[in-house]
Amino acid sequence: MTANDLALQQAGEAASGSEGQPAAAGWLKGLAVGVALPALLALGWEVAVRAGVSNGRLVPPPSRILATLVDLWRTGDLVMHIVATLRRVALGFAFGAVAGTILGGISGASAMFRRLTDPMFQGFRSVPSIAWVPLFVLWFGIFEAPKVMLIAVGVFFPVYLGVLGAIQSVDRKLVEVGQVFRLSQAQMLRRILLPAILPSWAVALRSGLGLGFMFVVAAELMGASEGLGYLLVDGQQLGKPDQIVAAIIVFALLGKIADAVLVRLSAPLLAWQDTARPAL
């Protein structure tokens, strides 16, 4: 590197440093780095199909996927499918997260309740959730209820386990503070145990939400007339790989956005954390 280059580089650094928005700039830079590889691969495939190296019939090039997405958007189908899927995930997640938090919390606070119920839950946990589907269909019919139930079951276990494990590892020293102030069991749960586990709870909810998106696909694959999972099945049956890939991309975006929303919502609750790194 010549002295001239060095001077130029320093000047460049000074200029970028003086822009005054290092956080936003850093975020954009992170996004650019993260997108670079998939964008390059997509571009390569596009070029390959255009150049006639492949006909792109089974693996459609990005332009065709984009066109499919635009088509779906224009007819309003895309919004309908997204809304249907999001509604199922939201309902299932709400039921599963609430049940997991409450039962995990009670199990963590009461040894008696834990001895009574935990073996049963652990047993159910090792049942693949899809195995419940026939039973749910018998019980709840074939419309929304069994799908929401399936998602709720998927969300329940990571949240239940996360809450239970976190409560059991709450620092004895903080529990003793509660004892000195004569907290009842319910107060101990509300004022010491639950706040202490907030960080682990946020993580448990995130993994629950991730499973929620996994199970919504399973539920919709098994029979739905709308939803992104339906787009997948439809694309397979009618031989439209572009529609399948489009649905997959929408799934990825939705999952990422939902996760980011969850992180953003939980951030103010975790402002007190004394961690080496800013939370997630």
Binding site: K173, L174, E176, V177, Q179, V180, F181, R182, R191, I192, P195, A196, L198, A271, W272, Q273, D274
Partner: protein, 260 residues
């Protein structure tokens, strides 16, 4: 006011941590417990706080026997143990939830002013230094105005300067409410600085070896003759407690038990 009678604690493993300890304290008195490690100082404190149950004997505050944590007894731990998810003000108000909000705020502000942390209400515990955190912990324990305050080596993790200033803060708070204070310490100077009476304990099993009254007025100059004399008496008693606990087997034990 605080009456400890024939208190004995034997742990499940068969270790007798505390054997037949009796101690009676007047209202507003400050007593320091000193002694070698394993002499049951902390066990005694936990029993008085109601965190553990005695194997024999009893603890009573104003005639009421203590069997579980009790509004009349406050406890300050060796570490601040602030709840990290509560602001400084909410930590101090932790034991005040039965009071109206206005009263809570008034007590918090008063306590913070007393310990020299006025305006720290909205800080998080992670933003405090060790000495500041322990001051908040003292305020939290004193805010519900307990009759008895127990302190378990509350300043042992702090440097000498911070410790000295905390002694002043503690005495200021004590002067405002005059709780009966029972503190465990391993620092003889701290005991002489703060206490009206120093109880020297003896290990294996934990019991009281000697009680030394310190009757000259506070604040106490650590270079004064009275201070140095008191310190010497405590150190001699400590020496005695350690040497005596070793070679002399108790009369009810067979000589074979003297395995040392």
């Amino acid at each position: 006011m605080l009456t400890i009678e024939a208190l004995t604690k034997t742990y499940a493993g068969g270790t007798t941590a505390l054997s037949n300890v009796s101690l009676s304290m007047q209202a507003g008195e400050i007593v320091a417990l000193v002694g070698g490690s394993g002499c049951g100082k902390t066990t005694l404190l936990r029993l008085v706080a109601g965190l553990d149950r005695p194997s024999g004997g009893s603890v009573a505050v104003d005639g009421n026997v203590v069997t579980e944590p009790n509004a009349a007894v406050g406890l300050i731990f060796q570490e601040p143990r602030l709840l990290p998810w509560l602001s400084v003000a909410d930590n101090i108000a932790f034991g005040l939830k039965h009071l109206p909000r206005k009263e809570q705020r008034a007590r918090v502000d008063f306590a913070l002013m007393r310990v020299g942390l006025a305006g720290y209400n909205d800080r998080w515990p992670r933003q405090l230094s060790g000495g500041q955190a322990q001051r908040v912990a003292i305020s939290r324990a004193l805010a519900p105005e307990p009759k008895v305050l127990l302190l378990d080596e509350p300043f042992s993790a702090l440097d000498a300067f911070t410790r000295a200033s905390l002694h002043d803060h503690l005495l200021a708070l004590w002067a405002a409410q005059r709780p009966t204070m029972l503190m465990v310490t391993h620092d003889v100077e701290e005991a002489v600085t703060l206490a009206d009476r120093v109880v020297v304990m003896q290990p294996r099993p934990g019991r009281i070896f000697a009680q030394i009254a310190i009757d000259f007025p506070r604040p106490r100059d650590p270079l004064s003759d009275a201070f140095i004399a008191a310190k010497r008496r405590i150190l001699e008693a400590l020496d005695g407690s350690l040497s005596e606990s070793r070679p002399k087997p108790k009369p009810d034990e067979s000589p074979a038990a003297a395995w040392w």
